[in-house]
Amino acid sequence: MLTNFLSYGVDMQIPDSLLMLIPLLPFVSSLILIFVNPPKKIVTLLGVGSVGCAALIALLFNISLWGQTDYVIKAGFGNWMTIDKLVINFDFYLDALSLVMISIITGVGFFIHLYSTGFMDEDTDYRRYFAYLNMFVSAMLVLVLADNMLLLYLGWEGVGLCSYLLIGFWYKNRDNNMAANKAFLMTRIGDTGMAIGLFLLFYQLGTLNIQDMQTQAVAVWAPGSDLQGNSMATLCCLLLLAGAVGKSAQLPLQNWLPDAMAGPTPVSALIHAATMVTAGVYLIARNTQLFQLSPDAMFVVALVGTCTLLLAATAAMVQNDVKRILAYSTISQIGYMFLALGVGAGSVAVFHLMTHAFFKALLFLSAGALIYSVHHEHNIFKMGGLLKKLPVVAASFAVGCAALASLPFTSGFFSKESILEKIVDSGHTELWWAAVIGAFITAFYSGRLFFVVFLGKMQQEPNHTPTKTMHIALLVLIVPSIFAWMQPQGLIALMPGLPSKGLSDLQHWLPIFTPIAALMLAFGLYRANFFGSELKSPALQSIHQLLKSGWGFDFIYHHLFVLPFKWLCHINRNDIIDLFYRRLEDTARLMHGFVTGFQNGRLRSYSASLVLFCVLAISWVVLK
């Protein structure tokens, strides 16, 4: 029944221009919310409605393109800039990859908007919140649908700006602003790297249009043809990787994400789980042909993925703030996606991106509901035994943690399994082992999180329960977190992975049992109430502190970049060059003083200087 219903939808033709409507709807609604101050009801209708319609259109596109695999839909607003070679238009480009992305953004986005109507109910700046959120969704949609790199860059920066505004939403206290500044600047560093990559690409390939650029790149830098060719390709890819690393909080630029939890929780759910942080993955997936040209760049991507994966997983183990645990887990899951991209399995990475969006959004929203009900308490060790009190939240938390830990028969399981499989196909066994260890730690900290919060003795009485809309959002998100088993076929066609080699039985069974073993270990340790207890030996304590601060990156960057820069600027506070001109002025005054010394009014000194001068003049004449 399901298939023929879907087959009916196939011949339902949708006009291409509908594609333009998707990013336009949230943008228009955010403009309205900025300039007009409607009553609360209208604000909710506009905010949630616009994203809802966009989701509907995305659904229509999904249905109409259900069967086909290689389809491309183009639509555009017209020309942005044309100077002889540089031709840039506001064109949107829909293919399998961007179809998956817009479905996630609008789908998950809609439920997060629905959820935040409840979460932000008593907040005074309700209108400003939805204006920023809608602006963010439209910027993300522009990023995903952009046909040329500059339009993608526009979406890229727009997303950065909206995340800055949303992180610093409660602007009254200083730390939120600092977190927002940090987030914006770290991503800005990555963006500048990407911009330089754009300039290089423009000069090497003559165009910024993504599709022509890729075909041109393949033509100009035939893989492995000459050293100059693929070194230029590697440089371009690394610069693009810099942008991706900045936005997706990967290794060098990852310590802004845990601080970005200062924003409201639905914001973290939308931005720091489902959409913005996946922009980096999308960028690399979109430019697969370019990355394919330089194997070294691919390896760097894989390396960055693995290191981030392990670093973030270990850091998540020791956090005691609910949202920071989820933030580090997001960084580690995106590390998985980078690893998959690095080994050439783009479609699997996007599949993991999709499942991750569902279960991480679910986890964040349930964490939000948890915090909302336990009067804004973030520390997990101050919560306990909430299983009975908050059944829906507990259920959604359980499903989320299961999917995160990739227990069998959850969506996380299928996507992570396929990543591990692809790593085996690519032949990087050491990366495979790192991924499995990562999976073990992931399962361990998700178990720890669930047991500490929901089992055991009740420490705080939840003062008010989540509203109806929050419950609806949680329940709806539970379904895809479990049942998103199938990889969208369009993706496989778009990004053909490597030929699959057979899995040895170790490689087959180990990934299935690791999560279960890790959960049992976590339960054992919970029972022995090891979590939260004082660590005896100082060595363990120092490791605990190191991991808690995210391997000390904050400390390193603070002392390596921030302090020298500040010191350099402060010593030059009043502008050395200005000092030069002030010195000029002082010497002029000094000379004045010296010369007036001669006019001392005494007649005899005048006559003496007169005679002296005559003597000098004559001697000059004589000696010359």
Binding site: T596, F598, Q599, R602, L603, R604, S607
Partner: protein, 100 residues
């Protein structure tokens, strides 16, 4: 037969004595006196020149310098009196209002 050099040495000597007088003395009267000596030195040279070349121009110039000296002394002494009336002293260093 007198050599022009002697005359030259004499007038230069007188002139430098005059300069010494102007610079060294602090009494306004003595400064005027030294000026007179300098003038005489110059005049001596003029006359020496006129007699050396045998034409009367030097002497005519002498006449002009003479009138000049006379008028200069007249005005100078007038100023001396005026200064004395105001400051009751002839020390030239007291007159230092025109300071830079």
């Amino acid at each position: 037969m007198i050599s022009i050099h002697w005359l030259l040495f004499l007038s230069l000597a007188l002139f430098s004595i005059g300069v010494y007088g102007v610079v060294a003395r602090r009494n306004l009267l003595f400064i005027l006196l030294s000026l007179e000596i300098m003038l005489n030195a110059v005049v001596l040279l003029f006359i020496a020149g006129s007699s050396f070349h045998g034409n009367p121009d030097g002497q005519i110039m002498y006449l002009l310098i003479l009138t000049l000296a006379a008028s200069e002394v007249a005005v100078g002494l007038g100023l001396v009196i005026h200064m004395y009336r105001q400051h009751h002293t002839l020390d030239v260093d007291k007159l230092s209002q025109l300071r830079g």
